[in-house]
Symmetry: C2
Subunit: 250 residues, 2 copies
């Protein structure tokens, strides 16, 4: 069984999050830079939207009374919209207003002291859905996804949560041309390595600006670098330490 | 905080394990194929050897009385030797006999009913160190690492634990030529993407042969595929299930 050694970054979302485990995906990239500091827990479920995310999140985020047994989620990314923006009557469609309410609900589950899932140590980043390239992917509408990306920014402003606006980052990198988005999308909806590079860089920039104490450069290895092991008497030098410098022992 | 949703694969080792988070590394590849089924917990610590692994493992593997709070480790890989095989008087050097004793000690911690860390649900795979290419990497001896790879096979035989013999797999893929090992090694000691592909394929083959119930194809998603969500009444269809089919609910 895995003991509680490292705190965690939790990635909540749909197939764009699940695909973060691809080579060069943002989960892989985060795992690499946060190795020995924070574990990355990928809770991306392909095809899901925010109506379905709420009962899922109730199960994957620990309730307050369980929290002393399990890794703290130091950072939570919430990334939906690619499916919510499907046109009705798709079962994946969530109307824009309810999408916004659902995002706020997920945030309040973590930030509201009245919530059973209240977790004041968890920092949150919202991520906008990327642009769809309808030349590549049938069944989505370019302006609908754009409008859902704007909805995320409205929620971020209202809830005072930073937003990784990857819609705009990719749109600008593509020269504001829908067809050119194919440089960042494998199939018009999902990201390729170049697309995930933008996600990763945007997240790291936001971490640095909003939650600098969580930037990987500010964290120490939970177990010391091998050159700091006391060779004559290793055991005391091999006691785990918190990754966040200045925190008491776990 | 992250609730207990998925069981885990734990990777215990040195820099070869830590580097598994590189793009195309074996941790990334395992995470991708086991997404929504088992989490991958990478406990690779660069530079470490088996003397130091024991006090570390005492902290990262849960004791029996803690095990009901935390994810079960369904599969544990143990991969040391690249540093143990350093020539004395390097502080990383562990004599071959003690290396074997240390590997057996790590195994017994999990498999012995008398151990505080006893975990009968955990399956174990030993991994041999890969060949070193001393044309690329100074400070290791080709025959020493070969001898430590053989030591792992001796331990596997004695303890009845399957061995991923990546030394032999890479050696044969390189046409049994030390210099040609550079096709699989980035610097003579560490693996590149082609090297990690061999590690991944060897592990999956051993899982299929020895622990077929843990092969990713035999596991179901903890949360149903989105097409199975009951759209009219989603909540009951969104209750987590064990990834191992036939097991009771977590």
């Amino acid at each position: 069984m895995a003991a509680y050694v490292q705190d965690a970054i939790m990635l909540l979302g749909d197939s764009l999050t699940q695909g973060g485990w691809e080579a060069h995906g943002f989960a892989q990239r985060l795992s690499y830079v946060y190795a020995r500091k924070l574990d990355v827990i990928n809770r991306g479920l392909g095809g899901y939207q925010t109506d379905w995310a709420i009962p899922v999140f109730e199960q994957i985020f620990a309730k307050e009374h369980e929290q002393h047994h399990v890794p703290k989620v130091r950072l939570l990314t919430i990334w939906y919209g690619a499916n919510d923006a499907s046109p009705a009557p798709s079962p994946q469609h969530v109307p824009r207003d309810r999408y916004k309410t659902n995002l706020s609900h997920l945030i309040h589950m973590v930030t509201s002291p009245a919530s059973a899932w209240y977790s004041p140590d968890t920092r949150i980043i919202l991520i906008t859905p990327p642009p769809v390239n309808t030349y590549q992917w049938d069944g989505r509408v370019f302006d609908a996804t754009k409008s859902y990306a704007e909805a995320v920014k409205e929620v971020g402003l209202k809830e005072n949560i930073p937003v990784a606006d990857v819609w705009t980052e990719i749109w600008e990198a593509a020269g504001k041309d829908e067809k050119s988005c194919e440089r960042f999308l494998s199939d018009g909806l999902h990201l390729n390595a170049a697309g995930y590079e933008i996600i990763f860089n945007t997240l790291i920039k936001i971490i640095g600006e909003n939650y600098p104490e969580l930037h990987y450069d500010k964290l120490q290895n939970v177990f010391v670098p091998w050159s700091e092991v006391n060779v004559a008497d290793p055991r005391p030098s091999l006691v785990k330490r918190p990754a966040m410098i200045g925190l008491a022992q776990l």
